[in-house]
């Protein structure tokens, strides 16, 4: 093979290898720390349920109130892991493009894992409440009576968006400076509110049961979630593809 052909083949393989490596390192980091988070949440939920049960029963459930904090936790992980992993990824011979691809795939994968865990936990909670004889309710989400698939899909989209928004925050400061970076935070906040509204969860929209629930609103909500992931992915790509590493002037 000619040198030029050799280089071309090398580039193709290198991109594939480094995308997979970025995806693995980010996914593993988020899943390991996320497992601790969910362990704590489960323990806390059980303790709260036990205490509430002791004093006269629970209204609804406990897990639904943790969904708001789970996404902000993943937002923080996105912020920290993207910031700390990029320099090593570039030093190991990766490109920004492969990092962005790995980050997006990882956010969707971790979102999916979190979505499934959330849906499973809610299902277990519903069954446990029923067995004890308590009234279980789920006021968040697109389906008021609860739906495994829709809850898993909604959380997947929300968590993926939050992880990507977390990753965009420090890159925004680097790109736009102190004032521009602060304005950028406000812009990101709009995306946060949008995805929360779309799937009707979180601290702003998750308190009351969705009024106009139905198949149409569910599709619209999930579509909105997909749009939020797409916008966040585009933002991550634009911000990270031009980012420079700078340690010191030397």
């Amino acid at each position: 093979m000619s040198v030029a052909g050799n280089l071309e083949e090398r580039g193709r393989l290198a991109r594939r290898r480094s995308t997979r490596a970025a995806e693995n390192v980010l996914t593993n980091g988020m899943l390991v720390v996320g497992a601790w988070f969910w362990g704590t949440i489960i323990l806390t939920s059980v303790v709260i349920a036990a205490v509430q049960g002791w004093f006269g029963g629970l209204d609804g459930g406990t897990l639904q109130y943790t969904l708001g904090s789970a996404r902000w936790f993943m937002f923080s992980l996105g912020l920290i892991l993207a910031t700390t992993t990029l320099p090593m990824h570039l030093a190991a011979g990766g490109t920004r493009r492969s990092f962005v691809d790995g980050l997006i795939r990882s956010s969707v994968f971790v979102g999916l894992a979190t979505g499934i865990v959330t849906a499973v936990l809610l299902l277990i909670e519903e069954l446990a409440w029923g067995a004890i004889g308590w009234d279980w309710q789920f006021s968040q989400g697109l389906v008021p009576e609860g739906s495994f698939a829709v809850t898993a899909a909604s959380e997947t989209l929300v968590i993926a968006t939050y992880i990507l928004i977390g990753a965009m925050l420090p890159a925004g400061y680097q790109r736009f400076g102190a004032w521009g970076g602060s304005l950028w935070v406000l812009a990101l906040l709009f995306l946060v509110i949008f995805v929360d509204w779309a799937v009707h969860t979180g601290y702003v929209f998750g308190w009351d049961t969705l009024a106009d629930a139905g198949p149409g609103r569910t599709l619209l909500g999930l579509g909105g979630g997909v749009l939020a992931v797409a916008i966040a992915s585009f933002g991550v790509d634009r911000l990270y593809r031009g980012v420079s590493l700078r340690s010191t002037i030397g």
Binding site: R10, M88, Q174, R246
Partner: protein, 318 residues
């Protein structure tokens, strides 16, 4: 798929840093003041050679290395890296950056994960990574793989960086002040290992160093950077021939030095030692022998000090 060693070239490269903000590893935001790091730098790093990249603190070495690795783009000018005749812009070029390994002082490791996790990541990305060799090097440098890099001493972290650099077997491997914190036996073990592996697996190596005296035996080519400009880029032999030391009676030494650019002068009672640029002509050498003046070569370290301090002096005289 083996690939030839990479060469590199910078042509009229300038890098100006604007004042910027960055997120630290602790999650806080830090302000970085701007400045000019490189100002019209032009030089080449020949393929398949060990090049010493020398310069004082803040001379622009790290910025130059960052350009070669595609960590950043120049403000102006061009940067080309690749196999001889196929050099390309490294920025976002996977074929090129996958062949450039930079070991920076910061380490570029996962500080809170076990050493093995970082090495596995490098192994997953680097096409030429040799995991067995990495293991042998960690044994040699006595790095405990069960520990996290954050809990290693500075010297051991540097040894980990050296291991990553050597085991990557990248066509262009760059060590940026990799010896910091290493004790003398580890540094010499690293230099020996570098030469041995370089002989067995020829590639291009750039060694950025302050410890010129210790590393000069490794250099086949030298690039000296000062205040963002390239002072010289040439074979190490040519640089060594740039200076001559004359030691002897003050009058005789001064007479011989008169036709040359004086780089350094030191008086020890009636004896004077000067360093002059270039070598002596045949007639001058004979004259030196007649007048009892000792003629010697100048170590790279001394030449480096003289060259960069002369530039600094000129700048301050402006």
């Amino acid at each position: 798929m083996s690939i030839a060693p990479f060469g590199a070239a910078l042509d009229s490269v300038a890098v100006h840093y604007p004042t910027s903000w960055r997120m630290t590893q602790q999650g806080t935001v830090a302000r970085e003041t701007g400045g000019t790091a490189l100002d019209g730098a032009t030089c080449t790093f020949p393929a398949g050679a060990i090049t010493g990249l020398l310069g004082r603190n803040g001379a622009g070495k790290t910025t130059m290395i960052g350009l070669l690795a595609g960590f950043r783009r120049p403000t102006s000018g061009t940067v080309r890296v690749g196999p001889e005749g196929y050099e390309r812009d490294p920025w976002e070029n996977p074929a090129i950056v996958s062949g450039v390994q930079v070991v920076r002082e910061s380490g570029d490791v996962m500080p809170d994960e076990k050493v093995g996790v970082t090495l596995r990541h490098y192994g997953a990305v680097r096409p030429e990574w040799d995991a067995d060799y990495a293991e042998r090097l960690l044994d040699l440098f006595e790095v405990d793989t069960r520990k996290n890099p954050a809990s290693l001493s500075r010297g051991k972290r540097s040894a980990l960086g050296a291991t990553i650099g050597l085991a990557s077997r990248a066509p262009l491997t760059i060590f940026d002040e990799v010896y910091l914190g290493m004790d003398a036996p580890t540094r010499y073990a690293f230099y020996d290992e570098l030469l041995k592996d370089y002989a067995e697996h020829p590639r291009t190596i750039i060694l950025s160093s302050h410890l010129v005296g210790e590393t000069e035996r490794l250099f086949e080519h030298v690039v000296v950077v000062d205040r963002g400009r390239v002072l010289l880029a040439e074979p190490a032999e040519d640089m060594r021939a740039r200076g001559t030391s004359l030691t002897g009676n003050a009058t005789a030494v001064d007479h011989l030095a008169a036709g040359h650019r004086l780089l350094h002068r030191q008086e020890l009672g009636p004896t004077v030692m000067v360093t002059v640029e270039g070598s002596l002509a045949e007639q001058e050498a004979a004259e030196a022998a007649d007048s009892g003046v000792q003629v010697g070569s100048v170590p790279l370290q001394d030449l480096f000090v003289h060259l960069t301090s002369t530039t600094a002096q000129k700048e301050s005289e402006r």
